[in-house]
């Protein structure tokens, strides 16, 4: 039935025009698409009027300072705007790190609790998820902030423990170690001694770890290589540090007028932001953890029960390590969301990078430059988070028997 030859009764076939060929049409289509895209881009660039585009204004001093800075003392007169932007990036990163830690801990706990055989606990975990997941993060943050401001006594009636720990609606202030600037400079040979000692401790820890891994392999008994290595290093670092004279001073906070000075200050803005980000993200992480655990075959739990593991062992040795493979990619997404959501700091006037960029825009009118700076910064932080999480992911998914 297959037609192999063209019947001679038909007129000879016209040659196929090239634009009927799929490859040619694809190229034509792509060409047209490219021209259209280029036209749009040219139009946008033209509309944006890029003649004055440039980042030179970042070199000027900003003329204002932000409270509660870290790393350097920014004064707004001698330092440039760019330095202030770096300070603001560091403020954002601090929020992110703390929020990521809290969100992960709370999220895993709640996610596991949602699958608990304890009915009440499971229901309460569900309540937590439904409440925090379905409320806007912005509203949560301003609500936390309102609660912190209203519920905690003002600084006139500060809650004071031993003239060292303070709690008021200006925040929490606690003593904090500050490195001694006279000791910490490259000219001091003791610094290099300490660095050398640290390197030696690191080498020793590595050697111990390797030995313990080998023994673990030979005997089949646990010898906790990582715990030993880490503890050894930490103890060695601490002992040598104290032996060299512990060149830090403890800064005690003091109250001057309506402000704290010195010490470690956790402002209510920071606390509200971290509380909001942690609770909101934890509700999503809890759902991710639950889905990851539920995706495991039930035989894993049953087998763990059958060999007599306790509930805690079952969870930490059997269930979670396996569930992590599915959990980590989704949790990475949540960390990226924390990165972007930290921009909500503006709502409580916490000087994060977005807020400071907004102030610069306000002062200079350079909207496009500031937007480019914002998007590049967030993308770089996202890339950093993704890179770290990829390393972790590779470890937990390949380090298996």
């Amino acid at each position: 039935m297959a037609i192999t030859e063209r019947p001679s009764s038909l007129p000879p076939a016209a040659p196929t025009p090239p634009w009927h060929r799929r490859s040619v049409r694809n190229q034509l289509f792509q060409g047209a698409y490219l021209i259209a895209t280029a036209l749009v881009i040219v139009y946008v660039i033209n509309a944006l009027n890029l003649r004055e585009f440039g980042f030179g204004f970042l070199g000027d001093p900003a003329g204002f300072a932000v409270p509660n800075q870290w790393l350097i003392d920014y004064d707004g007169v001698t330092n440039s705007r760019f330095v202030m932007y770096l300070v603001a990036i560091w403020a954002s990163i601090r929020v992110m790190l703390v929020a990521i830690a809290f969100a992960t801990i709370i999220g895993v706990l709640v996610g596991v609790a949602r699958l608990s055989s304890n009915w009440l606990l499971a229901r309460m975990a569900m309540l937590f998820v439904e409440i925090f997941r379905n409320t806007p993060l912005l509203v949560q943050i301003v609500l936390w902030y309102a609660i912190l401001i209203v519920a905690i006594p003002p600084i006139g009636e500060v809650f004071n423990i031993g003239n060292a720990y303070y709690l008021s609606n200006r925040g929490i202030a606690i003593p904090w170690p500050v490195p001694d600037p006279g000791w910490w400079n490259a000219a001091n040979w003791l610094v290099w001694v300490w660095v050398a000692l640290l390197a030696a401790a690191g080498g020793a820890a590595w050697w111990v770890r390797r030995g313990r891994i080998a023994r673990e392999r030979d005997t089949g008994q646990p010898h906790y290589p990582n715990r030993w290595a880490f503890s050894l290093f930490a103890v060695a670092a601490l002992v040598t540090f104290i032996a060299l004279g512990a060149p830090v001073s403890i800064d005690k906070p003091i109250i001057e007028g309506t402000h704290y000075l010195e010490g470690m200050i956790i402002t209510p803005e920071f606390a509200a932001l971290v509380l909001g980000l942690s609770a909101y993200t934890a509700s999503f992480i809890a759902e991710i953890v639950r889905a990851g655990i539920q995706a495991l075959p039930t035989g894993q739990s049953e087998a763990a029960n059958a060999i007599g593991l306790t509930g805690y062992q079952r969870l930490t040795v059997i269930i979670l390590p396996q569930a992590l493979r599915q959990i980590i990619p989704s949790i990475t997404n949540q960390y990226l969301n924390i990165n972007k959501n930290s921009s909500l700091a503006s709502a409580v006037l916490f000087a994060d990078l977005f807020f400071v960029a907004g102030v610069f825009q306000n002062k200079t009118g350079r909207a496009l430059e500031m937007f480019v700076l914002i998007i590049v910064t967030y993308m770089l932080i996202s890339l950093l988070i993704s890179a770290v999480m990829n390393v972790i992911n590779a470890r937990v998914t390949t380090h298996r028997v």
Partner: protein, 415 residues
């Protein structure tokens, strides 16, 4: 054929022995309750401790919430600012337009539930509690009792639509097919219909949208606009044509790289030079563009979840590329991606609250800020924000409930 084995022992006279699980269900309620509690609440010493701690925590929380709601809080900031919070600068004379819009939306929800799902007891309980809350909010203090009448009319329309739609038989009859089409068309047209009701014939203008009304208009625009942007983007990203797939990927990653606040910053300061238009329209464009990038990723996930045999089979039966996409690939990919798409819809609903952070536009949260800026309510920030949170929560929770129902009705997750 061998003889069937006879039962070894005779049944006890007068009583049929059922399988174990049904036997257990037969025992008196008190026994069953005791067993259930022993299993689920007091399995061991540790389990009992956990239950007691959770119980104490729950009681503490409940007591705190009840005390706060009835004694601790001063809700006058909400009751004196009802119109400000919900409609803000929307012209008062045109209030009926809002209510007609609400009635249309409620009617559509009723029809959709009747067509593709059923109200169960929990749904009805939720509707009853939420309605009671809203009616209390509207009626107490003697202000404008007729707005609760409007609300009741909308509720009646919802149940009317439901009762009619639920009677349509669930088979393959022509009536059913037609009803499905009408239902889908209604949902697709809901947004333009409501906007028409609000704006046509001397009604509101776009700058009148304010307070809760602004949230309710921005979110669907973001969702529908996002879908419109997302479908070609997802197809483009999955395309075998390099240039198209690269540019689509670049677009998606660029948009996802910056937070929504950053894009609203663009709408405020930069987009004016590029597309012009009023700020509300620019915000809508930005919301659609932003949501579209995220939705495109979810749809791409749906595309990747399809077996390539689907594509090959469609080509083999002679469908064109466009037909393959339209009839075979997209319907299945969209069905698989319903859960994340609804998640994104809920997310954009919550994100409409960001509009008032940097834009000179006041949605529900922004108007709550205006409310507590009044001198007499300066101490009532918590009350105002709790109220805002509850309103956002009700809508988001309703959306997630409806989505669960849609997933079940569409058999998402089943192949």
């Amino acid at each position: 054929m061998a003889e069937l084995p006879q039962p070894a022992e005779a049944r006890p006279p007068g009583r049929v022995v059922l399988p174990p699980h049904r036997e257990r269900a037969r025992r008196p309620f008190a026994d069953r309750a005791r067993d259930w509690a022993r299993h689920n609440l007091f399995p061991s010493r540790g389990g009992t401790l956990l239950t007691l701690i959770s119980f104490a925590l729950l009681v503490l929380l409940l007591c705190g919430v009840i005390w706060y709601v009835f004694f601790g809080a001063d809700w006058s900031v909400v009751s004196s600012n009802r119109w400000l919070l919900f409609a803000g600068s929307f012209p008062r004379d045109e209030e009926w337009r809002l209510w007609v819009g609400v009635a249309v939306v409620f009617f559509m929800i009723g029809v959709a539930y009747g067509l593709w799902s059923r109200f169960n007891r929990r749904d009805l309980l939720f509707v009853a509690i939420a309605s009671a809350f809203l009616i209390f909010l509207m009626a107490h203090g003697g202000a404008a009792a007729w707005s609760s009448i409007w609300f009741l009319v909308a509720l009646a329309l919802m149940f009317g639509g439901y009762v009619v739609a639920v009677r349509i038989p669930r088979d393959n009859s022509r009536l059913r097919v037609r009803a499905n089409r009408i239902g889908i068309a209604l949902i697709a047209l809901a947004l333009p219909i409501v906007l028409l009701i609000l704006m046509v014939g001397g009604g509101a203008v776009s700058t009148d949208f304010d307070g809760f009304v602004l949230n309710v208009i921005l979110a669907p625009v973001g969702i529908v606009g996002g879908l419109v942007v997302a479908i070609p983007l997802a197809i483009g990203r999955a395309s075998s044509l390099r240039i198209i797939s690269w540019t689509c990927t670049a677009y998606i990653e660029l948009v996802r790289g910056a937070p929504l606040l950053g894009w609203l910053f663009v709408a405020l300061f930069i987009l004016d030079d590029v597309i012009g238009g009023s700020l509300v329209v620019r915000t809508m464009v930005v919301l659609a563009v932003f949501t579209g990038a995220y939705m495109a990723e979810y749809i791409r996930g749906g595309l990747q979840a399809l077996h390539h045999g689907q594509d090959e089979a469609a080509r083999a039966v002679g469908l064109s590329r466009r037909q393959t996409l339209q009839l075979i690939i997209m319907p299945q990919a969209l069905r698989v991606s319903i859960p994340p798409l609804v998640g994104q819809a809920i997310s954009i609903w919550k994100d409409t609250s960001l509009v008032s952070v940097i834009l000179p536009m006041r949605e529900l949260k922004g108007n709550a800020d205006s409310a507590i800026a009044q001198t007499e309510f300066i101490a009532d920030r918590i009350e105002a924000y709790v109220f805002v949170a509850v309103i956002f929560w009700i809508v988001a929770f309703t959306m997630s409930r409806i989505s669960q129902r849609v997933e079940r009705a569409q058999g998402v997750g089943e192949r």
